[in-house]
């Protein structure tokens, strides 16, 4: 059965996602995942998340999907050892070196290559497979044909983002935010939070969403240029993905409200269950599902818009100096 993977930025969200039918939850240990620290957890909260997930029959993955500093890898191993000891079922990772080191130390741990690894072709998948990855998140820009080829040719689990953002750039290949503002903040555990660098685990100021003017030399050619960035819900493709045999459908959004995440999880749980119970070969009517999704979308869009405006404003604040968290 296909797995439904949901985000959790706090304990309440873990319970909400599990209660609405998620098969697995992912959380970010503070300082180590691709979100600002407000949506990450300390070790005690990760331990409680594991308990809630396991009590509800779900798995829990920890996202260590930053590109950390070399000197932070020993800290990563200590943190991983603690969380594996608590019962974490898998790790979501990006840095090839960290993946190789963690695989060496925890050979039984399932490692998922994060969206930030920007795995684009079958040779990429084979590379990550060779260093210890058993599941990969497909880039949002890949086509069903590319995914089908991957599924046929490679012994690897495929995760598909069904609620996420479709950015102008490839994820993991964007440095617009830290170019404009990078704040070095050290937390109590000594971890550099790299505020402004999503690749390194800090928040993303979403600089790309600025209202740009386009110049050729000194001449203005366009007054308003918007680089592509759409938050999407996958719907039409979900039946095809299930038929294709992908392993996991993943929802992004640790930063959203608990109730919204719960509603999204419930929607996809119902969709998956209904489709899987539907007689094979018969037409599956998606119209009612489009109606349900249309009721969820405005709330998501409003929350995202407020978040973007706040981040763009924060991105304009001068960096003063290093500070302790």
């Amino acid at each position: 059965m296909i797995e439904l993977l949901a985000p959790a930025g706090n304990l309440e969200m873990v319970a909400e996602a599990v209660g609405n039918g998620a098969n697995a939850i992912y959380v970010g240990p503070r300082g180590w995942s691709r979100r600002r620290d407000a949506f990450e957890m300390d070790d005690a909260a990760v331990r409680d998340s594991i308990r809630i997930a396991h009590d509800g029959g779900a798995k829990l993955r920890v996202a260590f999907n930053t590109n950390m500093q070399s000197r932070e890898i020993p800290d990563l191993l200590r943190r991983m050892e603690t969380l594996v000891g608590y019962g974490a079922d898998g790790a979501i990772m990006t840095d090839v070196g960290a993946i190789a080191v963690v695989h060496r130390h925890f050979p039984e741990l399932t490692i998922h290559a994060s969206i930030g690894a920007n795995i684009l072709n079958n040779a990429d998948v084979a590379f990550y497979r060779e260093i210890g990855v058993s599941q990969v998140v497909a880039d949002t820009k890949l086509t069903l044909r590319e995914l089908a080829s991957r599924k046929e040719q490679l012994d690897v689990g495929i995760e598909i983002l069904i609620h996420a953002n479709y950015c102008y750039t490839y994820l993991g290949k964007c440095w617009m935010s830290p170019y404009h503002r990078l704040e070095r903040t050290i937390d109590d555990g000594g971890k550099d939070l790299f505020k402004g660098s999503p690749n390194r685990g800090g928040l993303d100021y979403r600089v790309c969403l600025e209202d740009w003017q386009l110049y050729s030399g000194d001449t203005k050619w366009e007054d308003h240029v918007a680089l592509k960035n759409d938050a999407f819900f996958l719907l039409d493709d979900v039946p095809h993905l299930i038929d294709l045999g992908v392993h996991c459908l993943k929802i992004q959004g640790r930063e959203y409200a608990v109730s919204l995440v719960g509603a999204i999880v419930k929607f996809y749980r119902d969709l998956i269950d209904t489709y899987e119970a539907h007689p094979k070969g018969e037409r599956f009517d998606l119209v009612p599902w489009k109606g349900r999704l249309a009721a969820i979308q405005p709330g998501r869009d409003a929350q995202r818009s407020r978040g973007t405006q706040a981040l763009l404003a924060e991105g304009r604040i001068p960096v003063a100096a290093i500070r302790r968290h």
């Binding site: 950390m68 070399s70 190789a100 072709n121 260093i131 102008y168 490839y170 290949k173 503002r181 240029v225």
Partner: protein, 329 residues
């Protein structure tokens, strides 16, 4: 004994290669990593690639063939052919930004030296160790790393670290060229669209657009820090001029060749003419990228950003290196 160094740059097509005076450089990376439709991209025009490799080598320079930053499955057959041409024509190395391509090179051309490009996302010494096992012989760490982090990788892994010392650094790679939306309105067609010296601006924020990606608006400039880089053991330096004119490639290259000669000889001279040259070529100013641990668009050092950027352009406050040292842990 005076140490040797390598100064290199990037050229996308045969036209640009023929128009460029390569005298300041020891090596040239050939090909455009962002777009298959870039005008006569050497990675797609393999007869041109063969001719380009020969043209570089006949001048006594090393010829490196680069490869795509974000190759999908349908890129790979042509890329395999380009790699074969690189081997046949005697290229001195290939540069890879994609780990799948690294695996392909390692399996199909095990003797071919591999340079890891800045978009392969080498952030850690452990990551560099993995890539070394796949045949990497030189690494450009991700542009987001500080000099301190780069030094640690070099010490642990023992491979040369290549640094972008001048030019526009990549800030994003895309599969979508938004410039195509404007073909009709501007009356400019692909592949000429991305050659229009385009900048996205908002307030004091600026990025150079190349259609399927963005580069830093400001030119990374490490001129006054070359003695430090040399002292730290760096000896491979890149002028990123892929989106620039032959004049930029020559004049900026000459400045760095002279400055590097002085730096490796233990001298620390800064000629005013060098700054004039860099100022004339930097449309929206200079920065240090991420080398000193701060935001990529900052300029840190003895030269004020405004001074380095020329009159009539907005300046920012000077941050002294002593302040920066407090930032890097």
């Amino acid at each position: 004994m005076t140490r040797s160094f390598e100064l290199n740059t990037t050229i996308s097509n045969l036209r640009d290669l023929k128009a460029s005076d390569l005298s300041p450089y020891d090596a040239i990376y050939l090909g455009n990593i962002t777009c298959r439709l870039y005008e006569a991209n050497l990675l797609e025009h393999l007869d041109d690639l063969r001719e380009a490799i020969a043209a570089v080598k006949v001048q006594g320079k090393r010829a490196y063939v680069t490869s795509y930053a974000a190759p999908r499955n349908d890129f790979l057959p042509k890329l395999r052919k380009a790699l074969a041409v690189a081997v046949e024509a005697g290229a001195d190395a290939v540069e890879v930004h994609n780990l799948g391509v690294l695996k392909i090179v390692h399996e199909t051309h095990p003797g071919l030296p591999v340079h890891i490009g800045g978009l392969a996302n080498v952030y850690t010494d452990a990551g560099a160790e993995v890539l070394k096992r796949f045949g990497a012989m030189r690494i450009t760490p991700n542009y987001e790393l500080s000099l301190e982090e780069i030094g640690q990788i070099q010490r642990q892994v023992g491979l040369p670290m290549e640094l972008l010392v001048h030019g526009k650094m990549p800030l994003g790679i895309s599969d979508h060229c938004f410039l195509l939306d404007y073909e009709e309105a501007w009356g400019v067609k692909c592949p000429d669209l991305c050659q229009q010296d385009l900048f996205l601006k908002q307030g004091d924020w600026a990025m150079k657009s190349i259609g399927k990606g963005v580069l830093s608006g400001r030119d990374v400039c490490m001129l006054e820090h070359l003695p430090q880089l040399v002292a730290e053991g760096r000896d491979c330096f890149r002028i990123e001029a892929v989106s620039e004119s032959p004049a930029y490639r020559l004049e900026v290259g000459r400045v760095y060749r002279e400055a590097l000669k002085q730096a490796v000889a233990g001298m620390n001279g800064m000629e005013e003419g060098w700054w004039n040259t860099l100022r004339n070529h930097a449309r929206v100013g200079l920065c240090n990228g991420f080398y000193f641990g701060g935001s990529g668009m900052e300029y840190l050092g003895a030269r004020r950003w405004a001074e380095a950027s020329g009159p009539g352009r907005p300046g920012t406050d000077l941050l002294q290196l002593s302040q920066v040292k407090g930032v890097i842990r």
